[in-house]
Symmetry: D4
Subunit: 152 residues, 8 copies
């Protein structure tokens, strides 16, 4: 059993790297959005030509990024969505809704201070965690049935 | 042709009332979430019993609200999602993603200051507007093919 | 908004009647299995001819009942599944799984003693309740946004 | 032709091992739930933190197990569900309903004493058997068209 | 509960009329193919122009009839397929397969002499009957839970 | 049986009016795109604000029109697509492909000179006609089984 | 591009072998029903126990065969259905309807004498042929774009 | 991540070759229609027999080509549709509509003079480009997150 995991959400800390490193021995394939913030913002105009209006500049980029994002979510077995401390992160919540409507297994990761604001997103999840290690523990359990205490 | 419209998002201003009043002569049926904030927060424990932990208090409520929310989105032809000036509003973005994945026609309403943060949500929409009157104009055009100038 | 509700499960107490009576003022349409136990057991052979083997006697009946049951679940917005104190009730759990896979909103009703045995079924539900009145309260809230305390 | 088989249900006897051993020469890939009872019960709190209430302890675990269970059923060609002599086994019947609604080929395995109680589940199955050897015979026939007598 | 029933198959006896008359008091809506044999055969060329080749003459008609047939099956809750004593009736078996793949409840009606030849079709059905009265009995039971003996 | 018909394609002749008039006695409900060419071109900017670039002017309008177009096609039983003598009419072919992928019954109307260029579209259709009267004849036959000769 | 082809229908001549031999150099994977007539008829009782009634003898076998048949059709890109000169072959027409409803590309093979009786099945096909060589030619063209004349 | 790309549309210039050459180092698999114009036009009659009527000559060929075309679109992650300067190209627009209805990521390629006529097609696309190099740039970005400037 190979699990395909899409890692959505916050792109300013190394949580993806931590999960990928922690899951190095697992039969998992990770995907995710482009995490180079500048490239992600400018990709549309860089390839398809400049726009005078910021709205269309953003629009072209968001659509281009959607090719990758939707492919990642649609081919995933599990979608992990991380909410960080900063920014609106509406795209993360959008991805969570998109994944939920497609029947994907949803894991939401966030700190306790966002608990109330994320209650609708958490309610659609099969696991709500706080740390990358917990995501690794979830994947390990799903694949092997072994729990952290028993791995020691 | 009757259009079913789900009005998702911000619940602290009267934007829903404005749209409903403006569309009084149109063949539309509106639905939306429970907009009584206190009832929405406490519905789970009020009906199914108190919880000591805030997380489960919220969880019970969010799931109960999901019965209404999902029914509304799934039976809608058009989903309008409004983002206001305050709060995280992750449930609004979640609804937008949920609606997009189901192939619903999406109309997003927000002020210009949220344009960059909402670019992924806007990119999934068939119309991006700022005011309730514009939503009424869109519905009028979709149903009758008439534009605002011609209504005068 | 009219809600279609399928009432699945235990057929030996009057829980369906209590819900239907309690929801008399709501815009709901109820359906459910044939609750005449003898008719339900014998319908297949009564219409399509006797069987020497009990297995095929039951088989004919179960398939005939499935015409009604599947129609009820497939056209429902909400599926309520009640587990009573007696019998195996595997058909109730089967209905719950069937409804869950179709994305129906699931409400599970059972006493506290069945909590551990039903944890997988409860985990797929949007509401877990113990009494018919709570089902009525849930439906009232979903339709009107009003909570029991506020109805008094 | 590789067949993917999900083995659902009773976890206290070695029926899965018997099927897997008997099918050693077949082009099949098996999956199933975590069969370590203690790990399965406690996985949620072991990874995501303790709960004071047994309901939420179970809830966290059941949802976490659902990540594995749903993946197994959704990617299976055939779902085998075994009902043993003990316990309520509502999760087995839930899995059967879930698989049936997804159009999976369903094989149900149980002793003759459960025949009446399982009639609705059996009615949704393409094969009803009593022993692991019969499951192996079914898989052998489906893959190679050869019957037990001819294998001797 | 209104049931939509599509009556497929043999068009040379009055079985449809018998069912419709017998179900006069039931909340059912019947549909079916065009039963005027000559019109059904010639409809394509009559409307869209003559064809020199019999194959294309038939082809135009079969496609035109498919507009009605598919609409009837797709909007039906129950598809009844009758096999008579004459002709190949491959369109009846095609309809049965089409209905089965769409998850429709299938009732097959035929005499005992066709039992072996129809075993695959019968295996996909929820009821196998011989007479129009049995179809009426099935519909009565599905709608009201009452059996023939009890109607007397 | 009520048939819902979407009338797609060419908007410069009165073919829609002819069909609607001819079908006045049939149980059909027609829908179609906005046929006011100027309104259709300018609807986006008229409601949502002017654009300096013609591409975005058109883009806003095309998306807004898609709300109506997709609703019409998705709720239709039959999609009629007319190709006229002028213009590229790529939106008509796009609608035909969209309808075909959704499994809608497709009727294509065009003159003989477009036969070769439309062969892929015609190949996906259940009827290929040249005149509005033929569409009326098709609808009459689908609903009543009567052919033109017999109506005289 | 690998094409998966399901070969349904008549099992008394060597048409499958001819196609498989003719397609030896193509990137295709073939599947089909069990073609050992005796095994196919008796598989149910051979594995799951004898039945006194021929109907249930056949029923058990037909359901068991359906595990293979449905898997084959559901995983196929192209379904070829062959109608021979003998027998009712209703299972072949059933498979054709099943495949059509799932949107599979359908190739029907039969002699000219069956043309009128198969008009509805042919109308759902993308190719109607008479010989195994034509099926090979179709597959060759679909994969390589080369026509028979050019292969010489 | 391997991306499957279907290249639809114009077959008279070497745009497909340019994209394939430009993407030589990417993890992509390309498919497309038969681009030998004569073979594409005559394939139906060459394999299945001559037709006296041009309509049926074309019809047989168009259906045969649809086996390849639909397989290509249905298995693609991304569908690129190119509109050239000549011909009606309704099949290209049909493919675009077909792909859009299936939720495929759509990239449309055309010169600026077709912008207004293609506005509905462009509105359904996630990227609108003019050159093969831009398609390569889009694929490179989707797979690696790198932009053209950064590749130098």
């Amino acid at each position: 059993m190979t699990l395909h995991i899409y890692l959505s959400g916050e792109i300013h800390t190394d949580w993806r790297d931590q999960i990928i490193a922690g899951a190095a021995d697992l039969d998992v394939v990770f995907s995710g959005p482009v995490t180079d913030h500048a490239a992600s913002d400018d990709c549309g105009v860089a390839i398809m030509g400049a726009e005078a209006q910021k709205f269309w500049h953003d629009h072209k980029g968001a659509k281009l990024n959607a090719i990758r994002t939707r492919h990642g979510i649609e081919t995933a077995d599990i979608v992990v969505v991380r909410f960080g401390d900063q920014y609106k992160q509406w795209n993360a919540a959008f991805d969570a809704g998109y994944a939920a409507a497609m029947g994907k297994s949803l894991i939401v990761m966030h700190g306790p201070d966002h608990q109330h604001a994320l209650k609708e997103v958490d309610a659609a999840a099969l696991a709500v965690v706080e740390t990358p290690q917990q995501v690794v523990d979830v994947l390990t359990y799903v694949l092997h049935g072994s729990l952290p205490d028993r791995q020691g």
